[in-house]
């Protein structure tokens, strides 16, 4: 266990933050000694702690933090959740991750937004990752919106990733409840032998809107990406999904976009494959449709009602 080296400050979080934190990052109370974390609440810091191998420092020129992970860090986790707990807050955070060579870390970066009044509650998180040689990163990001106010809950994440040789990154992003408007943009550049796995899960309902864009450039020999986006559009919601993969060397790329539409939901999937090298092998698969009648029937023959069957199918699909 890394020894506690730095604990800058710790404030009392409000109850909404506590509830949101539990949802987005699984944090129940303050993380233990020696665990690196930064909790952002309504544009301020509600708690921060570095560990021996992971240093978290606030930026001096703009809101946000630098997370520096020492080379060779082994199997450590860092939590950087952000919460907007009331309407009329528009939060922007610039978080940069410097992952040293040969490090192996899990980064938990959830975001919860609570709108309690007429005005919008918004969080824009701009994350940049600089992943060193042979490093391994698992990035978990869960976004939710809550609150009874009629102001919109808005989350617009931007993620930029630079992967050095032989590095590995797995991004699991989930946004399945309560966010009224989202524009997600994810860009990545891969050096030789770098491997990027992306799993996006998205559900919209009511009048919600979501736009998600991926652009992955494979610049190094034998780099690879596997991008799978699964989404469900319910109610009157509208989703637009762009997935662009660019092969600039001998590389392999796969993107898959699966969407279930329900009620009067709409999904527009726009794939893009660009092969700039003869040895770039790129594949795209896309499927949009309502839940197959046979799936509902199968679960009905197991004793589930139609509604229960739909929920099971949707929950499984977005898992």
């Amino acid at each position: 266990m890394p020894a506690l080296e730095e604990k800058e400050r710790h404030y009392n979080m409000n109850d909404i933050t506590k509830a949101l934190l539990k949802e987005v990052s699984g944090m129940d109370g303050e993380p233990g000694e020696g665990v690196a974390y930064n909790i952002r609440e309504d544009s301020t810091c509600a708690g921060r702690q570095s560990s021996r191998d992971i240093k978290i420092t606030p930026k001096k020129d703009k809101p946000g933090i630098d997370i520096t992970i020492d080379p060779g860090t082994r199997s450590e986790s860092v939590y950087i959740p952000a919460c907007v707990t009331k309407s009329a807050v528009s939060d922007v955070a610039y978080n940069d991750f410097f992952v040293g060579d040969n490090a192996d870390v899990t980064i938990v970066a959830g975001c919860g937004v609570n709108a309690d009044g007429h005005e919008d509650a918004q969080h824009n998180g701009i994350h940049r990752f600089f992943i060193g040689k042979n490093a391994r990163v698992v990035y978990l990001e869960k976004h939710i919106g809550i609150g009874k106010g009629d102001g919109k809950r808005i989350i617009n994440p931007e993620t930029y990733v630079e992967m050095d040789e032989n590095s590995y990154m797995e991004m699991n992003t989930t946004q399945i409840r309560g966010v009224d408007s989202t524009r997600r943009n994810t860009e990545a550049k891969l050096a030789a032998n770098a491997k990027l796995i992306i799993r996006e899960r998205l559900m919209t309902d009511g009048m919600q809107e979501a736009e998600t864009r991926f652009k992955v450039e494979m610049n190094g020999e034998d780099s690879s990406v596997d991008l799978v986006s699964r989404s469900v559009a319910r109610g009157e919601s509208v989703q637009t999904l762009y997935s662009n993969i660019e092969g600039n060397a001998k590389c392999s790329g796969h993107s898959e976009c699966d969407a279930i539409i329900m009620d009067r939901g709409k999904v527009n999937a726009i794939p893009g494959l660009l092969a700039n090298n003869l040895d770039a092998a790129l594949i795209h698969e896309a499927a949009i449709g309502k839940i197959a009648g046979e799936q509902i029937l199968k679960l009905k023959t197991l004793g589930l009602t139609e509604k229960e069957a739909e929920e099971k199918i949707v929950n499984g699909f977005l898992k």
Binding site: A292, K300, G316, F317
Partner: protein, 242 residues
Amino acid sequence: MLELKNVSWTAEDGTDILENVSFVVPENRFVVITGPNGGGKTTTAKIIAGLMPPTSGQILFNGTDITQLDATERAKAGIGYAFQQPVRFKGITVRELIEMAAGEQMDDGKICHALTEVGLCANDYADREVNASLSGGEIKRIEIVTVLARHTELSVFDEPEAGIDLWSFTNLIEIFTRHREERKGSMLIVSHQERLLNIADEIIVIANGKVTKQGSRDEILPTLFTEDKACNACPRREREAL
């Protein structure tokens, strides 16, 4: 236990697929429905499971009229149904599907027992998704598990042999033979397979939408493979006739 009384089903285009089909599946019996392709066997199985309502006629289960019940209500009443072409689900694991069938969370031991029964190892399959990565034989066996896990009074299997390899088929016969011996409910199996017909207590033949024969295996089986199956318009037959 199950009784069909004059069940008919007419397709949207007006074609009569089933006409006055009547038969009884007694308690704890192993009954096989057989007959030519397109004769109405699968339609009969689907109507029993509640996947489609009959155009006319009556279905009784343990003396209760279940004609108007949908698939969910019939499942709850005690009818299980295995699809001829099992349905695949992205994201739902084998374990989850079996648990839905059993109506309870199951520990590793129970999952292992359920899968072993159809010759699958829980370590290899329990956490796999029931998606396109499973072969025809694998998903067919999992389909059978989902029916057996329900322990229903009546289990209906629509062509369990369809789409599986020879090895899986041998395994399949063993499963049905074992369940026949245990007599833990009735089985109604739609099949063309002689080896399944050989272990039937009773055989029902459905052809052209009608029950053409029904009775004990000893009574019906000898009559099935003796009739001339050649097509009347067969050129060879026409040549031989000259």
